[in-house]
């Protein structure tokens, strides 16, 4: 894979932000010196292994602990009859907790792979062998895992926005339209599969609970643990120094809670690590979706009616909705505009936030439908988007803080060679391969969460920045070093940044593409005040001068606007109609995402998102076995992600995206890279073959069965 790019933009880079820097902890990572949660040594460490249910619904009748307790090295078996009680009746940062993490509280089994016991032993191998030998008797009940568009028990659910938005009369709008697209799209169950599995060690140290973990926000996880175990928040410390990927899956999960329970019962440090297979049922996932999109337009492509209706699933114990209809509320306007997110509860694990929740699957449906409309109208897909560029938020009516979507399309079209494209499908051939190109738009919200920071001017002239950021592999530590260097008008080598420790205080999590924006804001405020203090030239005492900040008020004072990053995705694919193989030959993504802090890691993150988009378009799919209610092939041999050979050439770059009224200027790029990518690939497959693929992934068998121009 190569990423040859030239960054656009004519403004000269002053200071550190905007120029490429390798990760400050890069050397530690490539030499193995950086330690991850599952490999940090502790004296007297005991090892816990989760035992998961083997039925999809029912009750635990009994747990045969005696034979397992007699096995070598086994110290304890925690289950619903003897585990410490916890509280789930609270509202945390992201709402009420998913009871899946509140392990061993009752005898109900709501899905296959539900945690039923933790076996603790002297070694990890002993714990695993005993956990796998543990016999649990169930009263099994019939389960229902059948997800389909026609579920009569589906219901609308609000999440961060309303479940349903509507203006104008849809049927009238569609009836008055010269051209109508009405299509159903589906996306499968998808999993985060971060490289580093979930792992935590819990220990009591001088009356304080310490948890060494891999997560996306230590203050968040610490407060969840404090709530759940009814502890004084000050008596819980969670650290998470290096994280091998999270993508939304690394919040409070069964492993931390089980480890805390065992450490409390045994009064020893206890580590719990999940296997890849356990992660499939315990760490959340992206719900499968069925989506219906109806577009009505005049012959010139101008939309009169837009309807995006989405159905996703959740467990019987917790509500999480994949809000696929949300992007339509930002992207396109129409006199008749209708969006709805509905949910159905099944005997399955609880889904959760996964990279671009809502937007990733939602953009597949919406941006595929736009391509279908362009085809029907005989209009270039980019021109169609130009004609439907809204002035204000289609649903909110609010102005955009900045919206440079068309600049992305213009720059992308220029670089991709879009002007030479023959719009007719099924015409280009290279040996056994049919070739095609496609495009799609991307957007993701640019939000921020309240954060605190402390910046210290040390007596030796250097600076220490304390902000409870989480670096989940994106380069946050490095980005904050650059932001601090500029805010303090010094060079990055004068800055030390401490992150990933709940004792550093409250800060936004690494999620929702808000991390860098939120943390940078806090650092900039503290650094700015510190610079004013230093300007007084009163000298620096031995303990240094520290200034603290809290962005709560500043975030509250932001004017109400539609704040989003945008992007234009381009893909070229090759399809062998004889075998159904689809290969992406090249991809280009151009983004408008505010100020880019570190072009090196930003490009990696965008390319990573686009790569995932290829994966989503062609490979990723968790298969649920209806008979057992569990997964089929829940490992990385069965769940395919794109291999290197699937990702030949990806370019990511950005255009200027300035909002002079924004105090930070940073928008966040964690998610926008995946948005629209699958649609661009699917649209290219249509251009290659003349066949629309509305069900992901576009597997060889689907291509073969669908036929097309051979």
């Amino acid at each position: 894979m190569t990423t040859a790019t030239t960054t656009t933009g004519t403004r000269a880079v002053k200071g550190s932000v905007g120029s490429a820097h390798t990760r400050v902890e890069g050397r530690d990572k490539v030499t193995g010196a950086a330690r991850y949660a599952g490999e940090i040594p502790f004296a007297e460490l005991a090892h816990g292994w989760l035992a998961l249910s083997t039925v999809a619904r029912g009750r635990i009748r009994s747990v045969d602990t005696a034979p397992v307790l007699a096995m070598p090295g086994v110290l304890a078996v925690l289950h619903h009859e003897n585990a410490p009680r916890v509280d789930t009746d609270y509202v945390g940062l992201l709402g009420t907790p998913d009871p899946t993490a509140a392990v061993f509280q009752h005898d109900r089994v709501p899905h296959m792979g539900w945690p039923v016991a933790l076996v603790v032993a002297e070694t990890s191998e002993q714990a695993r062998e005993a956990a796998e030998a543990l016999v649990v008797h169930y009263e099994q009940e019939p389960h229902d895992v059948a997800f389909s568009a026609d579920r009569p028990d589906a219901y609308p659910l609000d999440n961060f926005g309303p479940a349903v938005t509507q203006k104008g009369d849809l049927e009238t709008g569609l009836a008055a339209s010269a051209v109508v697209v009405d299509a159903e799209y589906t996306t499968p169950e998808e999993h985060h599969n971060p490289m580093e599995p979930h792992a935590a060690t819990a220990l009591w140290d001088g009356g304080r609970l310490e948890v060494v973990d891999s997560n996306q926000g230590t203050f968040w996880v610490a407060s969840e643990i404090a709530n759940m175990f009814s502890l004084d928040p000050a008596s819980v410390r969670v650290r998470s120094e290096h994280v091998g990927g999270g993508f939304g899956s690394k919040g409070l999960r069964a492993h931390q809670v089980a480890a805390v329970m065992a450490a409390t019962v045994l009064q020893r440090p206890v580590r719990v690590i999940m296997t890849r297979r356990q992660m499939f049922s315990l760490t959340g996932y992206r719900s499968p979706t069925t989506q219906r999109v109806r577009l009505g337009a005049d012959a010139d492509g101008r939309l009169r009616a837009l309807d995006h209706s989405s159905l996703s699933l959740t467990s019987t114990v917790h509500e999480f909705i994949e809000a696929c209809a949300a992007p339509a509320r930002v992207m396109y306007d129409a006199d008749a505009h209708h969006t709805a997110n509905r949910l159905v509860r099944l005997d399955v694990p609880t889904p959760t936030f996964m990279r671009a929740p809502g937007e990733a699957p939602g953009s597949f449906a919406l941006e595929s439908a736009l391509d279908e409309l362009a085809e029907k109208c005989g209009i270039d897909p980019i021109e169609l988007r130009v004609r439907n560029e809204p002035e204000r938020g289609p649903v909110s009516g609010l102005p955009f803080s900045s919206r440079n979507l068309l600049a992305c399309f213009r720059e992308g079209a220029r670089r991709f060679g879009w002007a030479d494209r023959d719009p007719r499908p099924g015409l280009r051939r290279d040996g056994r391969w049919l070739l095609g190109t496609g495009t799609a738009a991307a957007s993701f919200g640019a939000g921020a969460g309240p954060s605190t920071a402390a910046v210290t001017a040390e007596a030796d002239g250097t600076f220490t920045v304390r902000v409870n950021a989480a670096d989940i592999g994106t380069g946050a530590r490095t980005a904050l070093t650059l932001v601090a260097a500029d805010a303090l008008e010094t060079t990055p080598d004068q800055i030390r940044v401490h992150i990933g420790d709940s004792d550093l205080g409250p800060a936004m999590i690494a999620g929702g593409s808000t991390g860098t924006r939120s943390w940078s804001w806090a650092v900039m405020i503290a650094a700015g005040e510190l610079r004013e203090r230093l300007a007084l030239n009163t000298g620096i005492p031995p303990e240094g001068i520290t200034v603290r900040s809290d962005t709560t008020a500043a975030i509250g004072a932001l004017s109400r606007k539609e704040r989003h990053s945008f992007g234009a995705q381009f893909a070229e694919v090759a399809v062998d109609p004889a075998t159904g193989e689809v290969r992406v030959r090249r991809m280009l993504g151009i983004f408008a995402a505010g100020r880019i802090v570190n072009p090196l890691t930003a490009r990696s993150q965008l390319v990573g998102g686009m790569t995932w988009g290829i994966s989503m378009a062609l490979h990723e799919e968790a298969v649920r076995d209806r008979a057992t209610g569990g997964h089929y092939g829940a490992d990385l041999a069965g769940y395919h992600v794109a291999s290197h050979a699937d990702v030949p050439h990806i370019e990511a770059d950005w255009v200027d995206d300035v909002d002079p009224d924004d105090p930070v200027g940073i928008k966040g790029i964690g998610e926008v890279g995946i948005v629209g990518a699958a649609a661009a690939v699917a649209n290219a497959v249509w251009h290659a073959t003349g066949v629309r693929h509305r069900n992901l992934p576009i597997r060889p068998d689907r291509v073969l069965t669908a036929g097309g121009h051979a």
């Binding site: 083997t54 191998e125 695993r128 062998e129 796998e132 297979r277 056994r432 004889a578 075998t579 159904g580 193989e581 290969r583 062609l618 490979h619 298969v623 076995d625 209806r626 008979a627 057992t628 569990g630 089929y632 092939g633 829940a634 490992d635 041999a637 069965g638 395919h640 794109a642 291999s643 290197h644 050979a645 699937d646 597997r699 060889p700 068998d701 073969l704 069965t705």
Partner: protein, 330 residues
């Protein structure tokens, strides 16, 4: 994970003796499949007898042509061997189409033949599987089977054999040599894998405790003009959903000699003898190739979700034989 003993065997008789002494012991080659199965609890050996250091790591060229490949030759070394590349190119291509570089550096020829199916029900001890627990049932027939067998399967098991290498070996009439404590033996690959029937847990005709010592390929001039094509759901590092090993000798537009074997369609590498018979002496054109494929696939019994494999294999036969024929014509 169950505790197990590990011993390295230094000679064949020592390896056989160690296995005879412990019926729950397993030979360990590269471990690229066995160790995974141990982690998931599918295999629970008491003892691993490491045979990688046995003096079976040579590839020899007998005077009559052909090849003798030692059982512990790594997949990487087999693929790279100049005589394999020159005289059996489809074998090199098949091996290189499998796994990853790291795995091929570890995996052995003997182990490759004995690897287990990647059926997701077989690999998951919480689910029924007749191959893993005889009589427990086959959920794939009614459940997930979009990459399961269309040929030679039974109601008891529809799993496929995952090997790429084995498909090329099947096309080239490989013979498997083995040793037991009672002496040596040989099995043509066509008889090496047992029919599924109602005993899917019995996969090979090897006697209990036997150690594969090598594979012999008889001389086959046609094999010098051969190809392996593998179709999978991503470009690399995935098992086939359909593959083909083909060798073709065409003179004056007429098929003189042909070898065809299919992968990922049956419980074993599937030698397509019906198609070969239909092709022998026939004109080397796409119509004949398609008719031959149809003759072979007439026996296919696809399930509701794997019928595409019939189309896929037919298209592969036509595509690869056409390529080979065109190259001959040049």
């Amino acid at each position: 994970m169950k505790e197990f003993a590990y011993q390295r065997a230094l000679d064949v008789s020592g390896a056989l003796a160690l296995l005879d002494a412990d019926p729950d012991a397993r030979f360990l080659g590269g471990g690229t499949n066995l160790v995974d199965l141990m982690k998931t609890g599918v295999e629970r050996p008491t003892r691993l007898v490491d045979v990688r250091e046995l003096p079976l790591d040579r590839i020899e060229v007998p005077a009559d042509g052909g090849l003798r490949i030692g059982a512990t030759v790594t997949n990487s070394d087999l693929a790279a061997h100049p005589e394999v590349r020159r005289r059996y190119p489809a074998l090199t291509q098949a091996v290189l189409a499998g796994a990853s570089g790291q795995l091929r550096n570890m995996a052995t020829v003997g182990g490759n033949l004995l690897q287990r199916t990647r059926c997701g029900y077989f690999a998951d001890v919480t689910k029924p599987c007749n191959k893993r627990v005889p009589g427990s049932g086959c959920p794939a027939v009614e459940g997930e089977h979009h990459n399961h067998a269309i040929l030679g399967a039974s109601a008891h098991c529809v799993a496929t054999h995952p090997s790429d290498m084995g498909v090329a070996l099947a096309a080239f009439d490989a013979v498997v040599s083995y040793e037991t404590s009672d002496g040596p033996g040989e099995l043509p690959l066509a008889e090496f894998y047992l029919p599924v029937g109602d005993t899917p847990h019995r996969e090979t005709a090897l006697p209990p405790g036997a150690l594969i010592t090598g594979v012999t390929l008889p001389p086959a001039p046609v094999a010098a003009h051969s190809r392996y094509r593998k179709v999978r759901e991503r470009a690399s590092y995935a098992f086939a959903i359909g593959s083909i090993a083909a060798a073709l000798d065409v003179r004056d537009g007429v098929v003189q000699d042909v070898r065809l074997a299919f992968g990922a369609v049956a419980s074993r590498p599937w030698r397509a003898r019906t198609a070969e018979r239909a092709l022998a002496g026939a004109p080397a054109d796409a119509e004949t190739f398609a008719a031959a494929a149809d003759a072979e696939l007439a026996a296919a019994k696809p399930l509701p979700h794997n019928g595409y494999k019939v189309t896929l294999m037919r298209n592969l036969v036509v595509a690869v034989l056409t390529e080979l024929a065109e190259e001959t014509a040049r």
